[in-house]
Symmetry: C2
Subunit: 474 residues, 2 copies
């Protein structure tokens, strides 16, 4: 267990811890009453995420219930030059919400209302704390759905802040493509709006896209308008096992290159299938596997599935096994989403060091297979899953956090993998964000000039460096 005294896990530097004066805590208590907590348990819960890095917790947690609450908390913190860290559902893997320079946490979880369903425009406007499952539940009578599905039941605000994507992105895009408009609170506590509900616009700088993926460092998101999609007339999910990871990956590459509008296309390696079988009481064939879903009219779904089945057969894939009912599909996708936790259970007490490279589809086999060989040679237990239709995949190296050498070995594998992805015209992070884990990788990827541009923007919009400092870049 980690405690308030836990240092930031090596090799991550602490950064300067900034003082949180009692006067600020008093002012917060006065303004927010029971909406503000300094209880250790509450602070600790807001000072960790699903990743492997630890840091001391924030000095206080404000439970915002309105944009005005966020503005007031930011203004008070700014008076005392104290960092503020937005908190959604806590499902980050990259240390986004760790108080690495001290400060207070602003939890927007109570701001979880649906503000406007504009079904006829295929848009919905929500507060940032609503989770994707809550959102889909709220719109289930409209015949529409919000497709972006990172696995975890993340908050929409957090998903916007990290430019999240997940299993449906291959067809429906990521938060980059699907956020239309935002309300945000700036470093000086002002609220402003970016974007409109129009589907496209050339109206000045694309502030919406600048904030999406800025990881809470340029503003705190207080409202999000996202696109929705009509529920497909027909949905079919299929599982296909392959003799090797390579065969599965070659099938994916050809599917994408042919332009098949596949809705989900997930790779799960044999380690993960084993873990999932045990965790979710399934009996999937314990071989590398593609988990696919097709959306469209009945005719189009059949056409897509036949095309992919033909490709898979060429590469030695087995006959598709179909999950036709909604219940079977839910079971299958729940199993996929639980792969992370299922794999963690194979090594009790372990932590996962998770990679997130994404490469152009033609480079997927090169990037992935060499990394599999390195992981196998390392002796570390690991699992491999991936949104391979997008060229994005995750190794989870399962380390014993008490053995520093294991963390080092895992980070070394990660390093080699990222270097390979960059050589192959890819990115160090397809969807998890930079946080504090990938700052070095981002520098390698973007170069000093682009980092200097990001830093200049940060400096211009947050001159006191109050908004989630110590993330993305130094």
């Amino acid at each position: 267990m980690h405690t308030s005294a836990a240092p930031l896990s090596p090799p991550f530097a602490q950064g300067p811890l900034r003082a949180v004066p009692q006067a600020l805590l008093d002012a917060l208590a006065q303004r927010f009453g029971a909406q503000c907590s300094t209880a250790l348990a509450v602070r600790e819960q807001h000072g960790r995420d699903e990743g492997s890095i630890q840091a001391p917790p924030p000095a206080a947690v404000v439970f915002a219930e309105s944009t005005q609450d966020v503005q007031d908390a930011v203004r008070l913190a700014a008076q005392y030059s104290v960092p503020v860290i937005p908190y959604g559902a806590g499902s980050s893997l990259e240390g986004h919400l760790l108080a690495v320079q001290g400060g207070i946490s602003i939890d927007v979880g109570r701001m979880n209302r649906v503000l406007a369903i504009d079904a006829e425009d295929l848009t919905v406007t929500v507060q940032p704390g609503i989770t994707r499952k809550q959102l889909n539940d709220a719109i289930k009578d409209t015949g529409l759905f919000f497709p972006i599905d990172p696995g975890a039941d993340a908050s929409i605000g957090g998903m916007a802040a990290t430019r999240a994507s997940g299993t449906n992105a291959v067809r429906y895009g990521t938060m980059r493509e699907n956020v239309l408009a935002l309300e945000l609170v700036t470093a000086s506590g002002e609220a402003l709006r970016t974007g409109t509900r129009a589907k496209k616009s050339s109206a000045g700088y694309d502030l919406t896209r600048l904030i999406v993926g800025s990881e809470g460092t340029l503003g705190i998101i207080t409202e999000v308008t996202v696109r929705l999609f009509p529920l497909p007339e027909a949905v079919s999910a299929a599982v296909c096992s392959f003799p090797s990871i390579e065969a599965a990956v070659r099938t994916v590459i050809q599917t994408i290159q042919l332009g098949v509008p596949i809705a989900r296309c997930e790779l799960i390696d044999a380690h993960s299938v084993r873990a999932v079988n045990r965790h979710s009481k399934l009996s999937l064939r314990e071989e590398p596997m593609l988990l696919m879903e097709f959306h469209g009219s009945p005719a189009s779904v059949q056409e897509q599935a036949e095309t992919v089945q033909d490709i898979a057969r060429e590469f030695g894939g087995n006959a598709f096994e179909w999950a036709s009912t909604p219940e079977e599909r839910t079971r299958l996708w729940t199993a996929r989403h639980n792969a992370y936790f299922a794999a963690m259970q194979t090594r009790p007490g372990c932590k996962a060091i998770t990679t997130d490279a994404c490469v152009p589809i033609s480079r997927l086999a090169d990037c992935l297979l060499d990394s599999v060989a390195e992981a196998d040679a390392s002796g570390l237990p690991y699992f491999l899953v991936g949104h391979v239709g997008d060229g994005n995949f995750h190794f989870g190296y399962l380390i014993d956090p008490a053995i520093p050498e294991e963390r080092e070995r895992a980070e070394q594998l990660n390093h080699q993998l990222v270097a390979r992805a960059l050589r192959l015209a890819g990115t160090c992070t397809g969807e998890h964000g930079v946080g504090i884990h990938k700052m070095g990788f981002l520098r390698d990827e973007a170069g000093d000039g682009a980092i200097a541009m990001m830093r200049a923007i940060k400096q211009a919009l947050d001159p006191q460096n109050l908004l989630n400092p110590g993330k993305i870049f130094h």
Copy 2:
């Protein structure tokens, strides 16, 4: 004809004219030789666009042939605090390339090479001066195409800079969705890269999307990587006439709300059809018309077309007339693209004041029909075309530039239309950009807070205000 002495057309303020010292012209001549011109005809050609606003021409034009040329021109200009204005194909409608504060033009038209075709990844990397037609010509043997089609044969760099879209955007998205990576030259003359060829990324601030649509004010684009799409197996284009604009628009709204993946969905009003018939020697029925295109497998194209034909019939639309051969389709789309020039010819010597509002699809009828009524009542001749599948449409008010009252009346109509679009959750510009024409509209749309954020970014990245000053905001 306008001359070097032509003042900026009212009601647009000139802005402070900044001196271009002879020493800079000498330095440019020395560095660039015949690649730099101060001839009046060359300067005038680079000091106007397809819009209705006039300004004095730039003091010199540099014909850049490489990123290094752009860097050197920017560095020399920066030494003398002289503005630089990037020039692509000159097809802007909003005065983007007018030297409203003086300065020099950097013409990237000679930087028109294809740098890398990565067909297996559906991407291509080009220099900014290549036009969209040149690009499609260069990749025609790959089985892929670049769908974004603003009508004009614009340069890819200019299209990125204005976040262009056009007829195919309803299915394939705009430059916002289709630019993956950029190289740009900053205000200090440094070259840097943004993005990668990976399909998605969460690696830090989305500098690519910040530069896309920044209209040359944050950097000069010197390389662009865009997405390509497989040529559809089947393509069908159809024309459908309607008894009223309202009937056509209601058909569009229902088509989009049903999620039909229509590839093009254009409205042309009866004025425009008449002009197009005369200009392109066609015999289209002179009624409000939808011009549509369907892409997909043969089965999917048929399915889509039947769905839309059923909807159109409900609203009194005629039977579809099909353009089945590539030649017939090209003829039809060329006619559509010539609507602007065809309409201009109906009033010799006129200028068009062009609107560009875009609203959520459910508001399209409200926004458009009230604006038609106002235009009819104004007595000004006009035409109306639109990418209505995206909720985007253009009135062109045809004014005699010698009659100030006509310009005023047209701008008044534009003003009323934009105010209406903003009330209906839309934007003042779907695809043309802000330039100098829509600065007031942008302020109405975005609000002071968002404009202040844009200005802070501009100030941080271009402290001397050298890059295309006097555009987007004051």
